[in-house]
């Protein structure tokens, strides 16, 4: 893994390199090791899914990529540059609905990061925001306040807000986990449609095997206590509506076996 100067990332070089990263965080009583020397390379236009049960450090890893937590060992590089702090080149979509700022309308919420980060020319902000909102199907709701929207709509706005910034990589921290099953399913399909259109690069954290297979081009399977990567799997062969196919089911079983088998060992 050689250093690059970060100017031009040719397809052969990773967009994001996670290199031997150990993460620790302190609670009131103790220091917890969330991940232990995890490594992976992510390339441009990847739909990269971090999959694992709760406690495997996948969300902590995502926060570290977001710049909120520095590794105690190893480093994370975006286009060859070491990540040191949070920044709008790595827009995050969170699980919680309150990620939309309640004092701003949908439009203001989408414009807000462009304004604070000084991204794009001032005159383009509103047009870009409206286009992004229209893309997630909420064109009628530009002037609505977040509290009047449903959970699914709020998550759509959060996705629009992140995509409008055209980030180098889109970070998604279980964005659909708090939605009802029907909405969740529709949101997954919409996200794939958006990807087909824009081809953004994203890292998506989930604990649902099915969601991982549906969304991913590549799946990183993680095991808990402390978080380690047990496998990195290709999932490009699964398209939209294949969740019932034999191959899907056997892939599901394979991952399930990895997680379940490991858990038994970990629990003794």
């Amino acid at each position: 893994m050689q250093q690059t100067n970060g100017r031009n990332t040719s397809p052969s070089e990773p967009l994001l390199a996670v290199d031997g990263v150990t993460l620790q965080y302190a609670t009131r009583q103790q220091i917890v090791t969330a991940t232990h020397r995890v490594s992976f390379d992510m390339y441009e236009h990847d739909r990269f899914v971090l999959l694992g049960p709760s406690g495997c450090g996948k969300s902590t890893l995502l926060k570290s990529i977001g710049g909120f937590l520095s590794p105690v060992e190893g480093e994370i590089r975006l286009k060859g540059q070491r990540i040191a702090r949070p920044g709008p080149d790595r827009m995050i979509v969170f699980q919680e609905f309150d990620q939309l700022l309640p004092w701003q309308t949908v439009l203001q919420n989408v414009v807000f990061p462009m304004r604070t980060a000084g991204r794009f020319a001032r005159g383009e902000w509103e047009d870009r925001a409206r286009a992004a909102i229209a893309k997630v199907g909420l064109g009628k709701f530009v002037d609505a306040y977040p509290h009047t929207l449903s959970g699914g709509m709020k998550q759509r706005v959060a996705i629009a807000r992140a995509l409008a910034m055209e980030p180098a990589v889109l970070l998604m921290d279980e964005p659909f986990a708090a939605l009802d099953a029907l909405t969740r399913r529709r949101m997954q399909e919409e996200l794939l449609d958006l990807w087909a259109e824009i081809r953004f690069s994203m890292i998506f954290v989930t604990h649902s095997i099915e969601e991982a297979i549906l969304l991913a081009s590549r799946i990183v399977v993680m095991t808990p206590h402390p978080g380690q990567i047990i496998a990195e799997l290709d999932a490009t062969r699964f398209a939209h509506d294949q969740s019932g196919s034999d191959e899907f089911v056997s892939f599901h079983k394979q991952i399930n076996g990895m997680l379940f088998g490991q858990q038994k060992v970990a629990n003794g």
Binding site: G66, E96, D98, T116
Partner: protein, 300 residues
């Protein structure tokens, strides 16, 4: 645990088969109105101001009836006489000047206190030590009645506006700071991370994320501060009367008591209440309407 014996019997209950049922849906126009309008009385009783006005009306009637029954103008003037005295005070300009004098000092003290509060809470929230310092200071000084430090203020600043402003600042500062700090600390982790994700930090982070996110709490601090400032000022004026060039409402009340013009005393108190209601019902409610209630951060 009590069910062990019944479980042991292993009674098998089968659910009998029943055929599927499919029903045709009624056409939308056949159902009639899905929503119906409320009656006039029900709609009126939804208006908060109308219900409160009714409460005030009842209180006024009770006051008038009791005063007529007691029939002692010196001790307890009736509402009608109080209203007359009030109108006389307004017309002659005495009451207006008193309100003006009080308001001037009050707004000055209130503004200074909010300015200081904004500064120290911003400094405090940036570091953990700062938060601890401010939390301890507010815990210490908030329960200390402002009027209790009036003697000290007189000693330091003499008999004048400065002393009054000092005690008002003391009464407002800690209440507002305490509420603001509590509000800041309870801003959700997600919203903090959203702000930092956009590269916000320092004062920009405080102004663009923390202040609006904690606005319900800040607003209630401002309300409490306003009430404290009123009480403190009226009380302080009662204690040492004329402040600088202008005599305030407290002095008006005190003077009229000495002259046994009890209706005027009531008129002075009524003025305090009216201004309090106006500020609460008009100023603060309008601020709430365009902020926290529009944002869905507060319901009533």
């Amino acid at each position: 645990m009590a069910d062990v014996s019944t479980q042991a019997q292993k009674q098998v209950i089968e659910v009998a088969f029943r055929p599927d049922i499919h029903r045709p849906l009624a056409a939308a126009n056949a159902i009639g109105d899905v929503t119906q309008k409320l009656g006039l009385f029900e709609r009126l009783s939804e208006k908060t101001w109308l219900r409160r006005l009714a409460v005030i009306l009842v209180l006024v009637i009770a006051w008038e009836l009791y005063a007529r029954y007691a029939s002692n103008e010196l001790m307890f003037p009736s509402f009608s006489n109080t209203a007359l005295a009030w109108w006389e005070g307004v017309r002659s300009g005495v009451l207006i000047r008193a309100v003006y004098g009080t308001m001037q000092v009050l707004l000055l003290g209130y503004a200074v206190a909010i300015g200081i509060s904004a500064l120290i809470t911003t400094l405090a929230i940036s570091t953990r030590v700062g938060t601890d310092v401010l939390a301890t200071m507010t815990a210490m000084f908030n329960p200390l009645p402002a009027i209790a430090i009036l003697p000290l203020a007189l000693l330091w600043f003499g008999l004048g506006v400065t002393s009054l402003v000092f005690v008002i600042v003391h009464s407002v500062l800690w209440a507002v700071s305490l509420n603001t700090l509590t509000g800041f600390l309870s801003v959700s982790q997600t919203q903090r991370m959203v702000g930092r994700n956009y590269g916000l930090k320092g004062v920009g982070f405080v102004l663009r994320i923390l202040v609006p996110a904690a606005f319900p709490s800040i607003l209630s601090g401002l309300k409490i501060g306003w009430a404290f400032a009123w009480r403190t000022l009226i009380a302080a004026e009662l204690v040492f009367g004329v402040s600088g060039s202008s005599a305030g409402l407290g002095w008006y009340i005190f003077q009229n008591r000495n002259a046994l013009e009890t209706a005027n005393v009531f008129a002075g108190l009524l003025t305090v209440i009216i201004i309090g209601l106006l500020v609460e019902g008009v100023v603060f409610r309008s601020i709430e309407a365009v902020t926290v209630r529009r944002w869905g951060m507060q319901n009533s």
